[in-house]
Symmetry: C2
Subunit: 221 residues, 2 copies
DNA sequence: GTCTATAGGCTGATAGAC
DNA sequence: GTCTATCAGCCTATAGAC
């Protein structure tokens, strides 16, 4: 289960991930995966039932990595503002460290309407997203955040910012003057800081209430 | 140039747009397009040089529709806040009226890194996006918006919200309790209203004042 | 302009030697 | 486990009748 066999299996999975991410499922051939991983194309069918099965295994691994990366950054005792910052920072980290993860997920969304990833997305939704939503609702409860926003909509607005940078990478690159290769890693880091500040500012609302007179200068300190 | 010929040509274009949008370029075959449009598959090669050429024509038409739809909603004398609202509403309108337009653009981004759409995106960037960015900068100049945000980043945050709903449609659907088919048209309308409000709130900042000095009362909850 | 027929190439997948 | 050889089917694209 380990050593040579493990290596070949993993090499196939790695190459498949790269190619599925960069070209898409339909445009990637088994022979391309074999060549990229320096393995025999028939060996792919020894380890995986079909191209579709290989894709499902690739996707499963990607989803687990995204889940664990995100979970790692969320401690249980965070205040609402920290939760929001942590979520955005986690998006930036995944995006900068393993770009193909989110690209592959993006393709899954658009190519299969998330048919393979639906259980995983529901799971992430029930844990991570729900945590973000509850943090926003909690902030509204204490008066820290304006109460007239729908917490679910607001949570989507939080994740949408960096999410858009992933999904519309070439557009973001052009808008930032970097061309269609997309934003540079440092652009993404800086945009992440902006996104967190923008979201917090949007949540706090236009006027600090009498009960909640604390705010901090973002970007200045 | 009109009547029968025009009809066949347009029918091919229509079906190609639908199929390229829903399945992607590589997964769509010429015969599928022929069947969907009730035309002979060889006729497609009479009107278009190749599958790739047909795709480019489809994309060109889509881009022109997006551009004209967006331009229609932007008058020249709008104040900063109206510009932001108009941009978001224009996104919602396109998304609800012609969903395949933005899906096709999304696929172009991810499948070809916007290689075919780059000139159009640059053009849109130089007009529409620049207009949004300048509106934000103008608002900052009058003190209506907080000055510590990068106008380009802020403009991306504005368009990212509805943009994410398009690109991550199945995710948004799950998060909103609608399943992988994505948000309902009414969800999108309501989210559009939220997105404009959220963006304006984020831009206005925690205090409505022309002075950007702020109190330091950390952890004041 | 619209059709039938088909070429030529590549794809996913399998059989079977080692 | 890893390899070679190969098949059946589908794909884009073209030739040529009408």
């Amino acid at each position: 289960m380990i050593t040579r066999a493990h290596d070949a299996r993993t090499a196939i999975l790695d190459s498949a991930e790269r190619l599925f991410a960069s070209r898409g499922f339909a445009a990637t051939t088994i022979k391309q995966i074999a060549a990229e991983s320096s393995q025999n194309s028939a060996l792919i069918y020894y380890y995986y039932d079909s191209k579709a099965s290989l894709y499902r295994h690739v996707l499963e691994r990607v989803i687990n990595e995204i889940r664990s990366e995100a979970a790692k950054r969320l401690t249980d005792d965070s205040d609402p503002e920290s939760v929001i910052t942590a979520v955005v920072e986690s998006q930036v980290a995944v995006l900068n460290n393993r770009p193909s993860l989110q690209v592959l997920l993006a393709r899954e969304l658009i190519d299969w309407k998330a048919a393979h990833a639906e259980p995983a997305i529901r799971s992430l939704s029930a844990t991570l997203f729900e945590r973000l939503r509850l943090a926003i609702a909690a902030g509204q409860g204490t008066g820290a955040f304006r109460a007239d926003l729908d917490p679910t909509f607001a949570a989507i607005s939080v994740i949408a910012q960096v999410g858009y940078l992933v999904l519309a990478r070439p557009v973001a690159g052009i808008l930032l003057g970097r061309g269609t290769d997309g934003p540079a890693p440092d652009d993404i880091r800086r945009f992440g800081k902006h996104a967190a500040a923008f979201a917090l500012s949007g949540l706090r609302g236009p006027v600090a209430t009498d009960l909640q007179t604390s705010f901090r200068a973002e970007g200045g300190s």
